[in-house]
């Protein structure tokens, strides 16, 4: 058996795959955060909680209604998006005229409510969620074994991320979004209903979190606290990438996931904090983030 840098390749590639999967989730979540932040100037602290809600909706659909993975893949993001619409219309909307920090505090309160409620109802232990039949099994790639579901998660996330990027950067709808991010008043003065766009943007951003939740359900356990620590890493990812940059969010998310995987191989003790260390270094060198513009 050959070795790379003293590490058996199975272990190395296995960890890299795990890193890539984490990176996919970072990318999906930070993409949603970036879209929301760009339009609403709100750091959505409830993002992790809504990711958890997405996973729970999938689990509830399966447990109580017998709706399987594929149904959940569509319904759960829609449900989370609908929750987002309601939150934006009833609460966030009132805060656009005051300091942006209040948006952060409000969504923090919402995160506590969601997590607390699910914890109260379902306890802290996770609920297992089965891998759909179609995605069971795996492939031996020679240098490593690739479980089909994990490959699916990475591929789907990449597709959704780049689809979102394309929609924002290359379509008419995206042009409205970019323009409204820059100057909402003027876009409104062209006859576009910006408040509705803002609601939809928030709904879409949290729907992405809900989708990530469904994708995560078969990999991690469905548990009320699954989003709470993840989201802080995602915040660090967003700070590193530069807030408001769509491509930056995607690339940084994937890259940091991989880097975390590598750290697990070479220096496992540091794997939890490597992202935060990188954040500190990036802030020292380039305060606006790797892809960010100072604003």
């Amino acid at each position: 058996m050959f070795q790379l840098l003293g590490i058996p390749p199975q272990a190395l590639f296995g960890q890299l795959l795990l890193g890539l999967i984490n990176g996919s989730f970072y990318a999906l979540l930070s993409l949603g955060l970036a879209v929301i932040f760009g339009m609403l100037n709100v750091v959505n602290m409830a993002h992790g909680a809504l990711y958890m809600v997405g996973a729970f909706v999938a689990w509830l659909l399966l447990t109580y209604l017998g709706v399987g993975y594929w149904g959940a893949l569509v319904l759960a993001p829609l449900a989370v998006g609908a929750v987002g619409l309601v939150l934006e219309r009833t609460m966030l909307r009132r805060l656009y005229k005051v300091d942006h920090l209040y948006g952060l505090l409000l969504t923090f309160g919402l995160a506590l409510i969601f997590e607390g409620a699910f914890r109260h109802q379902y306890g802290v232990s996770g609920q297992p969620y089965p891998i759909p039949d179609l995605l069971k099994g795996g492939t031996n790639l020679g240098f490593m074994y690739l479980p089909t579901y994990r490959g699916w998660v990475v591929a789907t996330s990449l597709l959704v991320c780049f689809g979102t990027w394309f929609a924002i950067e290359r379509t008419k709808l995206g042009a409205y979004l970019r323009a409204a991010t820059e100057n909402p008043t003027l876009v409104q003065a062209f006859g576009i209903n910006v408040p509705v766009m803002v609601s939809l943007t928030y709904g879409f951003g949290v729907a992405l979190a809900g989708l990530a939740g469904v994708l995560a359900a078969p990999i991690y356990q469905v548990s009320p606290l699954m989003g709470s620590n993840l989201i802080i890493v995602v915040f660090a990812v967003v700070v590193i990438g530069g807030m408001g940059s769509i491509l930056g969010a995607i690339v940084t998310g994937l890259g940091l996931g991989l880097l975390e995987g590598l750290t697990k191989v070479f220096y496992p003790e540091a794997s939890n904090i490597v992202v935060f260390v990188i954040m500190a270094v990036v802030l020292m060198v380039k305060p606006a983030g790797l892809f960010g513009r100072e604003r």
Binding site: N41, V43, M91, R94, L95, V98, D99, H100, L101, Y102, L104, L105, L106, F108, G109, L110, A111, L112, I113, F114, E115, G116, A117, R119, H120, S228, N229, I232, V233, F235, A236, V238, V239, M243, E269, N272, I273, V275, F276, V277, M279, A280, L283, M284, P287
Partner: protein
Amino acid sequence: MTMQTQALRRTGVEAGSRRALLIGGGLLLALAAPFLLYPVFLMKVLCFALFACAFNLLIGFAGLLSFGHAAFFGGAAYVTAHVVKEWGWAPEFGLLAATVVAAGLGLVFGLIAIRRQGIYFAMITLALSQMVFFLALQLPFTHGEDGIQGVPRGTLFGLFDLGQPLTMYYTVLAIFVAGFALIWRTVHSPFGQVLKAIRENEPRAVSLGYRTDRYKLVAFVLSASLAGLAGGTKALVFQLASLTDVTWQMSGEVVLMTLLGGMGTLFGPVVGAGLVVTLESYLASTSLPVPVVIGCIFVVCVLVFRRGIVGELLARLPGKGNR
């Protein structure tokens, strides 16, 4: 005109004497309190009140929202617990060590976080404090999920046995009063005026020649040290340092205390800490989920009650007095 000035001066004097009365009354109440309520409960309130006051020094007077203050509070608790329990240090040195370590940590956080403002500042402090959380989870001396238990309270200055609840209580009270007085002095000093100027309009403060980053950094370190002092004290009171105190939810809790009581008011955080601690100990005896209730209060405060209790009172009081 003269009538008005006189009237103004009179309300100023009245506000001053009212404040003196308030403080005197508060102190008397605090001295008598352990005979009416559980000392441990009161000490918890005082620890959190000091923590919240320290936090408020940043958000209320320098406009910086730190979402990572649990790192100082909880981190310092570990320091006190460790040096007192493992190295046998006297409690006063345990608290000193907590304060010094928190100050150092605050310096590091501050140097990194102060490069960005507003929301970014909050996110960076949050991420950095999460790093401290993982360190606390993984380093051997913190004992992971168990925390450091059975911390001896020891004898203060070799004279006062802190094992006695009342002695411990009055020590905590003295620490709180000292910390509060320091914050008071800071806020009313020229330094505090510059901080307020930065909060109101940083570019203008820069154009007036102030090196605002220095001021913000000093405020951050001071706030971190006092948060650390509060955390160390809490470790002595409960004879325990645990992960709970370094979680980001703890950082959120101190934000809530300050918000509920009134950001930027001197007494607000004290009131807020008292209310939140009381509420939590009440909820613990019911089946209501604590985080949900806390979350709801948060949402309501942010939506309709942004001035907080003391802020609201001050706004309604005639002759507003000092903030």
